[in-house]
Structures are given as structure tokens and as C-alpha cells.
Amino acid sequence: MTLTPLMRLGPDLTSRNRQQLLALLPALLVLLWQQGIAALLTLLLSSLCALLADALGQGLRAQPILPCLRQGEALLSAVLLTLLLPQAGLVLGGSVAVAILLLRQLFGGNGQSLFHPVAGALLLAALYLSPSPAPANPGLCLATVAGALWLSWRGIIRWQAPLSLLLVVLISLPIGSGWLLGQPALWLLAGWVMTDGCSTPVTPQGRMIYGQTTGMILVSVAALGQPSSAGLLLASILLLLSAAVPLLDALTLQAKRRM
């Protein structure tokens, strides 16, 4: 008998994170198939670092550690980063730990991070890695897209921001933004980072503006500037625009003024 009076109509945070992780599974399998044991090691290392950093942060803030770890937010960040930078190894582990401590725990833990730790960790890792553009990886892209579509069908992620970004990228194909579509980083960041509520606007209109602005900056830099890694580019734009989220919220959220 599955009766839960005081009904819950939506999944809770743990189950949402679990589903987001589940949606990354096909991409992870593709990656392991492509890169073998090295990717698995990176995955283990980054997961360990992320969990340790999260636990440390919770401990320093004198908050319960286990429930937070069980919620899987840190693990999700680690898996995403592994998919983004599978060869990075130790650098990735360090940057994910620093990013989680700095961007997630310092701002107050779950639900408070103004800047997404994954984007932050990408930038941190880029201080040590060469920002050369990664080769196109259609298999990984397809697996990621499938996962993102499933999430969006389940109602776990909000589609407005990624869709606006994609539309801009598609519209500006003539000026040379096509190579972006082959980058797994684009899909991963669009599907899992741009849909996170804390670092994106809360209203649908705000999310659309956010996605479009991201797309426009991304396309203009990618098409006009020097060749660079799409993931890095997108991550820095997302960080920059995350700071503009309060502004977008203020513009799109209007209180109902009394007469």
C-alpha cells in the first residue's frame, strides 16, 4: 500500500539528484568504452575528492555530514567534471575539491551556491591545462543528449535556458558556430549546469534571457575569437552571467503591488 497522506507530488532533492546521475549513465558508459580504465580512475579520484571536500565543508560549518553526502550533489559535480575533463586526473581532483569548498560550502552549502561549482572547477583546472579545443565526440554527445531529454521529460530539469542557448547556436550556424555542436561539453553544461536553479534565474522568462545571452556571447567569442575549448568558454560565460541572476530575477519577478 503506497499511501502517503500529506501528499508529495514531486520528487525530493535526493531523488532528483539520483535521477540526474542516472541520466549521466549512458554518457559515462560511452566514455568508459572510449577511454577505458583511465577515465574510471579519474572518476574515482574526482568523486573521492568531491565527497571529502563536501564532508569537510559541512564539518567546518558544523552541519550534519552524512545526509548532505547522501544527497549526491557533490557526486553529481564530480561525475560531470569527469565527463568534461576525462584526462585531467589529479588536477581535476584538486580543482573539484577547491570549487566545492569555495563555491558551494562557503556560500552555505546546498541550494545556496550562487556560482555553479562545476563551472568554477573547470576554470580552476584550466589554469593548469592547455585550453586547446577538444576534438568532436559525437558518441558522447548523443548519449548526453539522450540523458538530458529523459530528464526534461521527467520534469527534473527546466528546458528554457538550454533550449534558448541551442536556438542561438543553431541560428548562428552561418557565422561558424557549428563545431560547438560536436562538443560534449556544450551538452553537459547546457543540460546539467544551466538547469540548476541556484545559479540561474527562477522565472521562465529570466531563464530564456539567460540562455539567449549565454548563446550570443558564446557564439560571438567562439566564432570571432581565438580557438579555445568550448567547455571552458561556456563555463566562464555561465559564471559571469550567474552573477547577473539577481538582476534578471529583479527584472522578471514583479511583486503584486497593493492598490
Partner: protein, 184 residues
């Protein structure tokens, strides 16, 4: 110097500009102030580039050092603008904190590296670059005006609340802008 250093400079400048307001300034006050300062910077940069355009190729002939004329034009436009603001809207200028030292600082720090970076390039770039830079600067100013309200809702540790948190945000934004500038 490349854009990788120039863009973080803008972020730092915007952060400093936000700190010129009293610490308890609410968003209702900080937002118009940020907008006004952004627009003022746009005016100053456009004005200065017009001035250097007027001087045109002649300033080489005058024997001036290469960066002196842009510097002069930026300073002149800043002082002109502050004079005009003081003449026509003295009270609002004071309320919004558009004093001449700030105008001059913004004009020089935002405009001079740009002139240097671009050099005597094509005029289309000469038009576009000040505009984009001023737009980015306005965006940053507005971000710093609206961020404190959101930071209030975060569970920041007590030693970080207030201005230190804003500095942390400025650091993160500067990092992002640096990466973006490198890609340009």
C-alpha cells in the same frame, strides 16, 4: 597586456565603484546609481574616441607621445561630463555618487587600456570596442548593485557577510572574465 587582463580590470573597477556607495545602500538606490555610472562611462568613452578621431592621424604629426592624446581626450571628456552633470543635475549627481574623481578614474582605467590594446586599428573596431566595453562595465556595475540582496539569503559565514562576500564574487567574476579575455 591583452584582454585577459583588461576584462578583470573592469570587474575590479566595478567592484570599487560599488563600494563608493554607503554600505547600507539598498538595491533601490544602488541600481540607478550603477545604471547612471554605466551610461556616463559609455558617454565618456564615445566622446573620447570622437575626440581622438577628430585629431585623427594628425596627432602623430604633432609629435606627441603615442598615449598622451588618448589620455588627454579621456580626461577632457570626463571633466566635461562632470561639469555638465554638475550644471544640470547637481542634486541627483550627488545622490547617485557621480563625483568627478570617480568619473575620471573610470574613464581613464576603462578607456586607456582599450586605446592601447586596439591601437590605430580600423574605425569599425574603434567604434565597437568602447561600446562593448562600456556595456560590459554597466553589466558588472548592475551585478554588484543587485548581488548583495541575493547574498543576504545565502548562509554565508559571519566573517564573510557584507563586503568580503562581494569581494569573493568579484574574484570569481574576474577569473571568468580573464578566461573569456584570453579566448578573445
Amino acid at each position: 597586456m591583452n584582454f585577459g587582463l583588461y576584462l578583470p580590470l573592469l570587474a575590479g573597477l566595478a567592484c570599487c565603484n560599488h563600494f563608493r556607495l554607503p554600505p547600507q545602500a539598498r538595491m533601490e538606490q544602488a541600481l540607478p546609481s550603477a545604471l547612471a555610472m554605466g551610461l556616463a562611462t559609455t558617454i565618456m568613452l564615445l566622446c573620447a574616441s570622437s575626440l581622438s578621431g577628430l585629431a585623427g592621424p594628425g596627432h602623430d604629426a604633432a609629435g606627441l607621445p603615442p598615449l598622451l592624446w588618448p589620455l588627454l581626450s579621456l580626461a577632457i571628456s570626463a571633466l566635461l561630463l562632470s561639469l555638465g552633470l554638475h550644471r544640470f543635475a547637481a542634486r541627483q549627481t550627488q545622490q547617485l555618487g557621480l563625483g568627478w574623481p570617480w568619473l575620471l578614474t573610470n574613464s581613464l582605467l576603462a578607456g586607456l587600456p582599450l586605446q592601447w590594446l586596439l591601437g590605430p586599428a580600423g574605425s569599425a573596431m574603434q567604434l565597437l570596442a568602447p561600446l562593448l566595453s562600456a556595456a560590459l562595465f554597466t553589466l558588472l556595475l548592475v551585478q554588484f548593485a543587485t548581488l548583495p540582496q541575493r547574498l543576504q539569503r545565502c548562509a554565508l559565514p559571519s566573517w564573510l557577510s557584507g563586503q568580503p562576500a562581494l569581494l569573493l564574487c568579484a574574484g570569481i567574476i574576474a577569473l571568468a572574465l580573464h578566461r573569456l579575455g584570453v579566448c578573445l
